[in-house]
Each structure stands twice: as structure tokens, then as C-alpha cells.
Amino acid sequence: MLPISSRSSSRLVVAALSALVGATALSGCTNRLPALPEDPRRELTGVPFFPQTIHQCGPAALATVLGATGVTTTPEQLSPLVYIPGRRGSLQVEMLAAARSKGRLAFVLEPRFADLQAELAAGNPLLVLQDLGALGIRRWHFAVVVGFDPDQDVLILRSGTERRRLERREQFLHTWKAGEYWAAVLTRPDQPPATATGSSFIRALTATERYLATESISGGNAVALARWPADPLVLLANGNQAYAAGQLATAISRYRSLLAIEPTHLAGRNNLANALLDAGCPRQALAQAEQSASLLPADSPLAAAVNDTLAKARAADANASPSTCSAE
């Protein structure tokens, strides 16, 4: 047995521990990565960078993705909206809510790497949640994916204090998995993400409505109608917008397109009845109102509106003068 002094054995233990901890903390840097010069063909070079201060990766990552959509803000300004001192971090839903309050639509992607690639290709950086922990200890971290190089199989991120962090795809997927591959994209109200559907877009637009100017909402509806002309929710939203603006002919046309696709659409038929009433067509309105009332399920939260429409249509039909109806 070799004589080992207690001092040197304790040094050995400390050295081994330091190595272990170092490897844990910098687990991303253990693989040798290729030198990857910045290249606009595979990464969004214009995405800003805000180095995080301690625990503030949430506000920093949020300022980064918001900045990419043209919102001028800083992590310091966002911190009161998302940081929770008692959790030493930020929650995903609050990150999305804060983005909405800045007038940006927030979309959570399907948990697929292909969707992440599709958004990058469309010019949208992605807010991602990673678990950088090890040894069974969670260490949640928000970062922003700005690029992917398929040849090297390497992702490029704005992360923590690194403006251009490179991570092998395999390593990224490992850290991304614990948070169920959560990724979010933020866009202007008239720029639907590549992976959006008509329904997801209108939902995002509606959730952000109270922070948006009327022109921004109508801009978003118009873009949605052009991209998803046969989506029931897109048609309902556009019909409602036209109705609110007093454009009855357009509203009637949108509601009719919707009902041609989905004849049992309760809200669509109810709103068509209202538009027909306003257009001076009580007979047609009553027919629609009776249909929507017959579609009404028990305990529907829409019952008040539907019954109200039916009552109005009955009264108007009873007092109908010679028809001025021009909607056919």
C-alpha cells in the first residue's frame, strides 16, 4: 500500500469534486464544437442580445425575442412583469402574458424539432425552456434559439451571458426534453408564424386584443382571411369585425361562408341573424334565429345571446313593413 498523506488525499478529493462540478455547470461545453462563423444563411444574426444578470434569464430571453419583433424593451423593464423572487425565476405562462401585454401574439409550438426549424426558416427566433441541471437537480433556463446548422448538427442560441452559444442538436434535445420540448414564438399581429393554423392564430389574436389598436386587430384578421379562407374561426372573427364596423354586406357574406363549411355553427348562425336584422331583413333573420335557437345545447353560456336574438327577430318580423331587404 502506498503511503498517501492526509493532505494530498484531501487535495485529490477537492480536485475530483471541482472537476465534477465544473463538468456539471458547463455540461454544454464538454463536447468539442466546430468553429462556426456567424452566417445569415443559417442564423438570425439580427436578433438582439441581452446578457442576463443572476436568475434573470427569463426577462433577458423575453427582451431578446420581443426585440426581434420590433419591441424596444430591456430585461430591467420586463423583470417586474415576469420575475418571481420566491421562485428565483419566471414561469412560462407569465412570459407569454408579458409578451401579449407588449402587443405581440404568443404561440406555443407543437413539441417537434421540425416546427422549430420551420419557424427559424421563417425568420422567427424561438424562446425555449431548457433544463441545464444534472445529478437529478433541475436547473430551468430560458434561452433563445436563433439558428441551426444542419451540416454540423449544431444550434445557435442567445443564452445567459453568451451571445452566440453553440449546442449540438443531441445535447440541446436532451436539455429541451425535461420541459416537454417547450418552445414559443412571438409575432406582430399581422405576421402569423409559419406553424400557426387559422384557429391558433385567431385564438392568439383574441387573447392579445385588449392590448392592440383596432387597426392592428383588423390587419391580423385580414391576413388570416387571406391565408386561411376556409377556417371557421377565421370567418367568424372576420364576420364579427365587419359587423362591428357596420359593414353588413361583408359580415353577412363571411357568416354565410362559415355556415356553408359548418352548418351547425351556433355563433355564426346567431350573428348572421343579427346582421340580417340590421340589414332590414327580419324574415330571413327570424329563420336563422330559429335555427340557432334549435341548435342551442342545454346550459350553454351563449343561451342569453341566442334567445335575445330570437326575441328581437320575432318582434321585428311581427312589425315588418314591406321588405327593404337587399341581402339574398
Binding site: 443572476i54 418571481i84 421562485r87 414561469l91 402574458a97 425552456l129 433544463d131 441545464l132
Partner: protein, 126 residues
């Protein structure tokens, strides 16, 4: 602390009142927002639940150190579905914050244990 709890209670009461008021349907037409929330819930019970969740989230944020005025804005910015999730899981949901201090803490803890068990003597000088 008592002051904070009072503030929370009062704001929570205001939210309850607000939450119940916003459900009145406007004459006949069903707005896109109303349509979507009707799809997600059934009836007034859900409205009351949402108001309670909002007050609950508000109180939890304040107890976790968020400034009460900011907590009001933040609770108001969440959708019904988000509120329900956060109200139940505030302490379990992932909170992205890098956790670097946690790593340092673990190092310290391990060194401490080694010191106490006599394997090392690095803290002797302090």
C-alpha cells in the same frame, strides 16, 4: 405582512366583482372572445372559479415577493386557463432562472459534509 395580506384581500374582492361583471352578454351578437370562452367553459360557475383563481394567483405572487401593484397587473394578464394552471401549480411549475446559485450551493454543501466527516480540512483556517 398584515398590510400586504389586507391589500391582497381587497384587490381579490375587487377582482371577484370585476370577474362577475364581465360576463354580461351584449345584445344578441356573440363576439369572438365570448365564443372562445364559451367553448372553454360552461356557465357562471366557471366565471366564479376563474375569479377565485385570479385572487389566488395574486395572493401567491405577493407571498413569493412580487410587488403587490405588479402582482395585480400580472394576475389580470393571464387567461382563465393559465390562471387555473398557475393557481394550482405555482410552486411546481418550472421557473426558468438559471439556478447557478444552486450549483454553487451544492458545491458548498458537499465540501461542508467532507469537512464535517473529517475527509478534508480546508475550512480550518476560517
Amino acid at each position: 405582512m398584515r398590510f400586504r395580506q389586507t391589500v391582497v384581500a381587497i384587490t381579490a374582492a375587487c377582482f371577484l366583482a370585476l370577474g362577475l361583471q364581465t360576463t354580461t352578454a351584449s345584445a344578441g351578437v356573440i363576439g369572438t372572445q365570448d365564443y372562445l370562452s364559451a367553448e372553454a367553459r360552461a356557465g357562471h360557475l366557471a366565471d366564479i372559479n376563474a375569479a377565485i383563481s385570479r385572487a389566488d394567483v395574486l395572493a401567491q405572487l405577493v407571498s413569493l415577493g412580487v410587488d403587490p401593484a405588479n402582482a395585480v397587473t400580472r394576475a389580470a394578464a393571464l387567461s382563465d386557463a393559465e390562471l387555473a394552471q398557475v393557481a394550482q401549480e405555482m410552486n411546481n411549475l418550472p421557473a426558468g432562472g438559471d439556478g447557478f446559485l444552486a450549483v454553487i450551493g451544492i458545491v458548498f454543501l458537499v465540501l461542508m459534509i467532507l469537512e464535517l466527516t473529517g475527509v478534508t480540512d480546508i475550512f480550518k483556517k476560517f
